[in-house]
């Protein structure tokens, strides 16, 4: 275990904590403004019906949040920012001491910036995309509710608040996936997303309880008591302190129990960040409007799981086999999602599976203990994946709601802005040249080399490299099918309005430059890794290094994927030659490895079977046997007496009321006499 404890103890002194003054509570404004916007747009009919007011409110709330966050950001750039805490006691019952509030450190700051910046761009984009939708007010109300919930996770000081907002993002996701409620598939997809997440949350909540109970029990030792008394045992700082002082083995009794707790906490991320085997909901979630897919199901909400693990990394760090589990689940997700992406016809589905695959990369990094690398990839991915989704939305908008890539083609000349920004996003994702994804993906792959705690690490790394090639293949497959060749659609395609292309260029610009804040220090021999430096007070573990051979190999593999796609799809005529070439493998991939079918069987046969069995017991044993049986016995006995009753309801009412009146009257008289 020494391997893991060392870097933690090597972390620098924690920054001071500020709990008073305006700055400590400033993040409450950022957090609650979107909620305010959501409430007003939902509850005030005038606002709900005038879509421009609703949109202005929602966009304004998020932009204000961005501006306030930037004030903190500039303070942090000037040097170490203190930790700003604005926390109140929410529930205090015995040991269940739950606080609520905001805690802003550098990590939360990065994530808040991502959410508010990407969020603002997408909120503005939605103005154009949702134009003409009859219930745009409803849309923006729910979108703002999501922003509130997401910021709640980011700024959460404790596990319980994380769980609260965890559920809330789940609910807002449910509402927005089911936004087109007239569509049967939208309702099904929304339900599936919510319930899959619920299954993950089942483990998450149990994990939280395990950690809480362990930390609470350890409160008497090692000066932890004061912290527990102040913040409660759900608090991240308290838990971190407990893990640092005691280590997982002492807290939980056995290392196995510590690993179980970590695995259970990870279940939450498994649901929210759609990791195998709970990945099934994310592709279906594309039933929602495209801005929703971009913001929630690509850039921010699905990254919440990764963020949560980074935030509570101490739980995982000490946990025996948990890192191996994470790395392998990440690798499996990355791989199977990439195979599924290759078989898709729907442009949004390609991006959805691509998101899954990239989240798999991040989880691999988490397993390797490379939390900063995971956070870096999360940040770059948020920008370029949001960009790609918005481009896809622009294409869908331009092609009159056509989503099938085989009915597109040749959009390069018809939608120049969309094409150019799409290419920037694609290159950033596929890591052909050193922008965004190239740096962040490489940090993740590089982090494997030192990760001896992961069993089978070379295989995981191998999968990571393979997926890099597959990523390039399916992305350029989509590019060639959509933008190159001849236009195969029926309606005339057109470029999207400025309100949509503006955000595209904004995100494209970020996708171009964002990678350069994380150039590993060993490349130029100076401190070029600004991202790592920014998270220095929080950052734990070895600094990222660029391994030249690994970079060359992964880039070569990516180019290989790109060139293969180019060879196959450059002159596509709207048919796909791959199914014939791959045969059974294609079927397996196209059927999504039969995971969805298996779950369907689980729900339809197993769960419904249990339900039917219980209903059978209820009907024939409990009701018929226990209740009716007793009643029939009694009826036989009481048959004679029954004839005495008149059976007229009126008589019953009268006699009952009279009896009651007499009794109440007696009481009243007594009362009066005594008064």
């Amino acid at each position: 275990m020494d391997l893991f404890t060392l870097p933690l103890l090597a972390a620098g002194d924690p920054p001071p904590i500020v709990t008073e003054g305006f700055k400590a509570w400033g993040m409450w404004i950022v957090l609650f403004l979107p909620l305010l916007a959501a409430i007003i747009t939902t509850c005030v009919p005038v606002v709900r019906k005038r879509s421009n007011i609703a949109a202005t409110l929602a966009i304004g709330s998020l932009l204000t949040g961005l501006v306030i966050t930037l004030i903190y950001f500039f303070e942090a750039l000037g040097g170490q920012m203190p930790i700003y805490e604005g926390i109140v006691n929410w529930v205090e019952v015995d040991a269940a001491h739950i606080t609520f509030g905001t805690r802003l450190d550098h990590l939360a700051l990065v994530m808040t910036l991502v959410v508010t910046a990407v969020g603002s761009a997408i909120f503005i984009y939605a103005l154009g995309y949702m134009h003409g939708d009859e219930s745009m007010g409803r849309f923006y109300g729910k979108f703002a509710l999501f922003a509130f919930s997401m910021l709640g996770i980011v700024l959460s000081p404790n596990f319980f608040q994380t769980f609260i907002f965890w559920e809330l993002v789940g609910a807002s996701s449910y509402f927005l996936i089911g936004y087109y409620w007239k569509k049967h598939s939208a309702g099904e997809a929304a339900k599936k997303a919510f319930l899959t997440n619920r299954v993950g949350d089942f483990g998450f909540l149990l994990g939280i309880l395990m950690v809480w109970a362990a930390v609470g029990a350890a409160a008497d030792v090692g000066g932890l008591g004061a912290l527990v008394a102040e913040y409660g045992a759900f608090d991240f700082r308290v838990i971190e302190q407990a893990f640092t002082v005691h280590g997982g083995e002492i807290l939980f009794g056995t290392t196995f129990a510590a690993a179980v707790a970590a695995a259970l906490v990870f279940c939450g991320a498994m649901g929210k960040s759609a990791q195998f085997p709970l990945h099934v909901w994310l592709p279906d979630a594309m039933e929602g409007p495209t801005p929703v897919s971009a913001l929630m199901h690509a850039a921010t909400m699905v990254a919440a799981g990764i963020y949560m693990v980074i935030r509570s990394n101490f739980v995982f760090h000490f946990a025996e086999w948990a890192p191996t589990l994470l790395a392998w689940l990440g690798a499996i997700t990355a791989f199977i999602a990439a195979t599924m992406a290759i078989t898709q016809r729907d442009i949004k589905k390609v991006l959805a599976y691509s998101t899954l695959s990239q989240l798999g990369y991040m989880t691999m990094a988490l397993g390797c203990g490379a939390y900063t690398a995971a956070m870096f990839h999360l940040t770059t991915h948020a920008f370029f994946k949001a960009l790609l989704f918005l481009c896809a939305g622009s294409v869908i908008h331009g092609c009159h709601h056509e989503q099938d890539m085989f009915k597109m083609g040749g959009l390069k000349s018809k939608m120049p802005s969309t094409y150019k920004t799409w290419m920037i996003g694609t290159v950033a994702l596929t890591a052909l040249v050193p922008i965004a994804g190239w740096w962040s993906k490489d940090e993740i792959l590089g982090s494997h080399l030192g990760a001896h705690q992961v069993a089978g690490m070379p295989i995981v790394l191998g999968i990571g490299l393979l997926v890099a090639g597959m990523t390039a293949f399916y992305m350029f497959r989509a590019t060639y099918l959509t933008f190159h060749g001849e236009y195969r659609g029926h309606h005339e395609a057109h470029e999207s309005p400025k309100v949509m292309t503006g955000p595209l260029w904004f995100l494209a610009a970020f996708s171009l430059v964002i990678g350069f804040v994380g150039i590993p220090n060993n490349v130029f021999g100076t401190k070029t890794n600004l991202f790592e430096a920014f998270l220095d007070s929080w950052h734990k573990g070895p600094y990222a290094e660029l391994h030249a051979w690994l970079a060359i190999v992964s880039t070569a593999i990516a180019w290989g994927g790109f060139l293969t796609a180019r060879a196959i799809y450059r002159r596509s005529k709207g048919t796909d030659p791959l199914p014939a070439k791959l045969g059974g493998v294609w079927t397996l991939w196209n059927e999504l490895w039969y995971v969805d079918k298996f779950y369907l069987w689980l729900v339809r046969v197993v769960q419904q079977g249990f339900a039917k069995a219980c209903w059978w017991v209820e009907r024939w044993l409990v009701i018929q046997g226990l209740v009716n049986g007793t009643a029939q016995t009694a009826r036989l006995a009481g048959d004679g007496i029954r004839r005495v009753q008149s059976g007229r309801l009126g008589t019953y009412v009268t006699s009952f009321v009279l009896g009651a009146v007499v009794l109440v009257g007696l009481v009243l008289i007594q009362l009066l006499v005594r008064m």
Partner: protein, 554 residues
């Protein structure tokens, strides 16, 4: 004036006043009831707000040995009735009672408005409704065992008439059958409890029917062990504890909307309240022994109830079984024997009452128009009734434990409490909380399925003309219920503060056993309790003072 007297007398007077309204003047009937329930609601809200700081000159406190805080009943008023039997009209509420009074006041206020749709035998309907609610308020505020039971029956019997006359037979449930079953099971439960109550009365003649004095009686352990099951099961059949639950979903399915609201919202809580007020309070030693078994049974409530709900297609049966499933959490919280779990349990009684009233009132809204509640017949209703749809989704989300609603806080407290109770116990005792968390998943399954089948998708042409909730008066009950859920969901502190005194006293008794909690022997005239009186004198000095104060108040 004493708020409890207002709360009890106003509906009682309204019941009588209704007799003088000429037949056919439905507006007057509705007006009287609306006025009465509004007065009651306002009084209850004011009382709830004042409760923690209410003046103590009419309060009665029961000291527990070794516990600083007393079990305080506020706004007590006592009138001797039959002094020879120790019978008196004695009112007062502790925190738990206050919460339940507020719950009842909110639900009956909403229920009266929701019932405006009733057009047959309006007067008789409201007479029954008002009598029922008088009984419910009586149970929650009575400190005299005789009146406690009297009001308990007063609440149960109108239920029979309400379902029997204004209910309906559907494909799934026959009205007459459901009514008979409900009344028979409830009456049986009540009679079993009554036997137990009589035994309690006979055991401590010095206390008479005075529930405050009874709380200071040190019941002998073997007496507790014998009578705890009787009283517990008697009341628990109303909760309803598995497998005594089958009256409840059937009763819902046959009842009109407002009756379902009261049934699930309040009547079930009468059972839980009885369990707490009598079985757990008087018999803490027995509770220590029996509650772990209750902890297992309530898992059946939670999981089995949810699974049966999944198998249903009649919406009212779904919510009915859901209620039985969720009352399992209340039992789990009590069975956890931790302060957290018990607070959560009582809080959940309140939250679940409001939530389920909201669900049933909305079902009633469209059932009155569609005359079907089968999910297969409905669909796409969001198009014609968006307000009702959003309200129903809110109820479903609250029930599924979405944060922001009171149900989330209370259910989580129950689960945390259940988890906490395992601190030093065997691993097996993790099973109930784990199943309880799984129950949350199952709740999501049947509720989201219902939401999807009801509101999403294309609408059938025959539902195109359905009316949404339109006028402000029609919207009032739903808005009040939703606002209550969200208020306590966002800021649960006021509720927890009100509950704190009574629940921590109860928790203390169960944790320490009766001998450690009360000054023994004082109230048992005929000393039939070997061994229990001897150690009583060794109490701490300060407690004697506290006890003396408590005595002086009376």
């Amino acid at each position: 004036m004493n708020p409890l007297l207002i709360i009890i007398l106003v509906p009682a007077i309204a019941t009588l006043a209704l007799f003088f309204v000429p037949r056919g003047n439905n507006a007057a009937v509705r007006g009287i009831c609306l006025l009465a329930t509004t007065i009651v609601l306002i009084t209850a809200v004011l009382a709830f707000i004042q409760f923690p700081n209410a003046p103590v000159d009419d309060a009665v406190g029961i000291a527990n040995k070794g516990l600083e805080s007393e079990h305080v009943f506020k706004w007590t008023t006592k009138t001797e009735w039959v002094p020879d039997l120790g019978l008196s009209f004695f009112l007062g509420v502790d925190g738990m009672g206050m919460a339940m009074v507020l719950l009842t006041a909110i639900i009956i206020f909403a229920g009266v408005i929701v019932s405006f749709g009733i057009t047959e035998r309006v007067k008789e309907y409201y007479v029954c409704l008002m009598a029922l609610v008088t009984g419910v308020f009586g149970v929650f505020t009575s400190l005299d065992l005789f009146f406690y039971y009297f009001f308990y029956e007063l609440a149960v019997i109108p239920m029979f008439l309400l379902i029997g006359i204004w209910g309906s037979t559907t494909r799934t449930v026959d009205q007459g059958y459901a009514t008979m079953k409900l009344v028979l099971l409830l009456s049986t439960g009540a009679v079993i409890a009554l036997v137990g109550l009589i035994a309690v009365y006979l055991y401590a003649p010095g206390a008479g029917f005075d529930m405050v004095k009874l709380e200071e009686v040190a019941f002998d352990t073997s007496f507790q062990m014998v009578w705890f099951p009787a009283i517990f099961l008697g009341f628990a059949s109303l909760i309803p504890l598995w497998p005594l639950h089958s009256w409840s979903p059937a009763g819902h399915a046959a009842a009109p909307a407002a009756v379902s609201m009261l049934h699930a919202g309040v009547l079930m809580k009468l059972g839980a309240f009885g369990v707490i007020r009598v079985a757990l309070t008087y018999f803490p030693d027995a509770a220590q022994v029996y509650l772990p078994w209750v902890g297992l049974l309530c898992c059946m409530n939670i999981i089995y109830g949810a699974l049966v709900a999944i198998a249903q297609r009649d919406l009212k049966l779904i919510i009915g079984y859901s209620s039985s499933s969720h009352m399992g959490y209340v039992l789990l919280g009590l069975a956890s024997m931790t302060l957290i779990g018990m607070q959560g349990a009582v809080f959940l009684m309140f939250a679940h009452g409001i939530m389920t009233a909201l669900a049933f009132s909305l079902i009633g809204w469209f059932y009155d128009q569609t005359h079907t509640r089968m999910l297969d017949d409905l669909g796409g209703l969001m198009k014609v009734m968006p307000f009702a749809g959003v309200g129903f989704i809110i109820a479903a989300m609250a029930s599924a434990g979405l944060p922001g609603f009171a149900n989330f806080v209370s259910e989580l407290l129950v689960i945390i409490g259940a988890w906490h109770s395992n601190a030093n116990a065997s691993l097996w005792w993790y099973i109930p909380p784990i199943l309880a968390v799984w129950g949350l998943v199952l709740t999501g399954v049947y509720l989201l399925r219902a939401v999807k089948d009801l509101w999403y998708g294309e609408i059938s042409p025959r539902w195109e003309k359905l009316q949404d909730v339109k006028t402000p008066l029609q919207k009032t009950p739903y808005v009040v219920l939703i606002a209550t859920l969200m208020l306590f969901g966002f800021w649960p502190k006021p509720m927890l503060d009100v509950l704190d005194g009574s629940v921590s006293s109860l928790h203390y008794r169960i944790e320490n056993g009766i001998e450690q909690s009360v000054e023994t022997g004082a109230l048992v005239r005929d000393v039939e309790t070997p061994g229990s009186g001897a150690e009583g004198g060794a109490g701490l000095d300060s407690d004697e003072n506290a006890g003396a104060e408590g005595g002086a108040d009376r």
